[in-house]
């Protein structure tokens, strides 16, 4: 009882790292350090949840400062040819980079030997992981775009067409509802290569590809209406962090439940039910509207649960907008999105098996 708070992550940090790799507040974060101001749009299990829309606009914005990234990725690809060990390593690495290094980058001058390497990899292992294939495709694609720019309608353009596997944005099936951080950036990289006036397809006979046209569209939109860009990029879904205090040794008080519920446009009862079922405890709401939870919980832990709540019950699965309404019809909750109009049913909150904890004599039924 000497330690100040219940915190399994303190001692078992190593183990947690597997699970919370991408969580900015997770294992990497120093538990003594103050929590960040906002809840970040990532879930604990590593999927990126774009609370604010990531549009091609934003991608264009980011393009400027990430020049060098694809080079390393290519190098990785070539390395990956040679050994399983490295391949494995890469698999682990991939989910962690959230498109901030590789995906959004502009095509760069690649070494003359690299195109062969990239192709060879692609030919070698078709049976490989999907994630990996994607990145290969990307690397390949970077070089093509670059070559196109260099020659701008030379003889190389024809050759490129053969290599090009699918120039369109690779929306693949394993990305569940757009949680895949890789899907969007691949559209973005083409955007940068195409600037108005010297489109790659002008010089050659080939047809323009969808991403190129998309890039052109955003280019002209950006030029005509810079205001559109700023609004979509600046708005992010932020929520004040939960404030958790200890009451005695066995209870925690969650003081700003009401505020958070208001911000999320959800009934406090619904949020509280979710909290209790996830944490496997119970509790009560006191007179001042504070939630008293049985057990010792830290702000970090509650935040994780709230983040999961937001993913499941607040953000629209189609457009990722947090602007949704939750209604109950015939015992089923439906979530209707205000911005895109989609409607879907969500899981009912159901607390599962709760083991007997504490004295049996206190429990009258058991």
């Amino acid at each position: 009882m000497s330690e100040p708070m219940f915190d399994p992550s303190l001692k078992k940090r190593k183990k947690k790292q597997v699970q919370f790799t991408v969580d900015p507040l997770g294992a990497d974060a120093d538990p003594t350090a103050p929590a960040p101001e906002t809840i970040e749009p990532t879930t604990t299990d590593g999927t990126a949840v774009d609370l604010g829309p990531t549009t091609a606009h934003e991608l264009m914005k980011q393009n400027g400062d990430t020049e060098a990234a694809p080079k390393t990725e290519e190098a990785d690809d070539i390395k990956a040819m040679f050994g399983d060990l490295k391949k494995k390593k890469k698999k682990k690495e991939i989910p962690m980079d959230f498109g901030d290094d590789s995906g959004t980058s502009t095509p760069i001058p690649a070494g003359t030997s690299t195109p062969d390497g990239g192709e060879a990899v692609e030919d070698l292992d078709f049976s490989d992981l999907k994630k990996k294939k994607k990145s290969k495709k990307k690397a390949n694609f970077d070089m093509e775009a670059f070559e196109k720019e260099l020659t701008s309608g030379g003889a190389a353009a024809d050759a490129d067409d053969d290599v090009e596997p699918t120039p369109a944005v690779d929306l693949d099936d394993d990305a569940d509802l757009g949680d895949d951080p890789f899907a969007q950036p691949s559209a973005g990289e083409v955007l940068a290569s195409v600037s108005s006036g010297n489109e790659a397809w002008l010089g050659s006979d080939r047809d323009y590809t969808y991403p190129e046209l998309l890039g052109r569209f955003y280019e002209s939109l950006h030029l005509a209406n810079p205001s559109l860009l700023s609004t979509s990029g600046g708005k992010r879904y932020t929520i004040a962090p939960p404030s958790i205090h200890r009451e005695g040794t066995k209870k925690s008080v969650f003081t700003n439940v009401a505020d958070i519920c208001k911000k999320m446009h959800r009934q406090p009862e619904h949020v509280i039910a979710f909290l209790f079922s996830e944490l496997g405890t119970n509790g009560s709401v006191d007179g001042a509207g504070q939630l008293v939870i049985k057990g010792r919980f830290q702000q970090k832990q509650i935040e994780n649960v709230l983040r999961r709540y937001i993913v499941e019950y607040v953000t629209c699965k189609t457009c990722k907008s947090p602007d949704t309404l939750l209604t109950k019809e015939n015992r089923i909750f439906f979530m209707a999105c205000e911005s895109c109009g989609s409607r879907r049913s969500v899981n009912a909150i159901k607390s599962g098996f709760v083991a007997q904890v504490g004295k049996r004599s206190k429990n009258k039924t058991g």
């Binding site: 399994p8 496997g280 057990g295 970090k300 509650i302 994780n304 015939n330 015992r331 899981n347 904890v357």
Partner: protein, 113 residues
């Protein structure tokens, strides 16, 4: 030979509310739930619920106990079915163990903080 239109069964009859007597509407019955519960002090308890029928819970428990070096028990709940209880926070260990042994990752749900 039967002509469908002459049958006494009316395929267009109103069946009523199809969800009327279904207790678990919107339930997550086909998930494997891994939960954590706090005990006194910094002790915790991990429960595994919703194990598919083709796995032998007893054998699995034995494997868990050996692998994670913890004690555990099998509880038979009337509503929830067999539930494996393990001492300590074994959530991530359980999920990696199950995934390694070819349980579909999408059917595993890890709860708790």
């Amino acid at each position: 030979m039967s002509v469908q239109n002459l049958n006494s069964f009316d395929p267009f009859a109103d069946e009523g509310d199809p969800l009327a007597d279904n207790q678990d509407v919107g339930s997550q019955a086909d998930y494997i739930h891994i939960r954590i519960q706090q005990r006194n002090g910094r002790k915790t308890l991990t429960t595994l619920q919703g194990l598919p029928k083709q796995y032998d819970a007893k054998k699995l428990l034995k494997a868990f106990k050996k692998e994670f070096a913890c004690n555990g028990t099998l509880v038979d709940d009337e509503k929830m079915g067999p539930v494996i209880q393990l001492q300590g926070d074994q959530r991530s260990k359980i999920s990696t163990f199950l995934i390694e042994h070819e349980v579909d990752k999408s059917t595993i749900k890890v709860h708790g903080f």
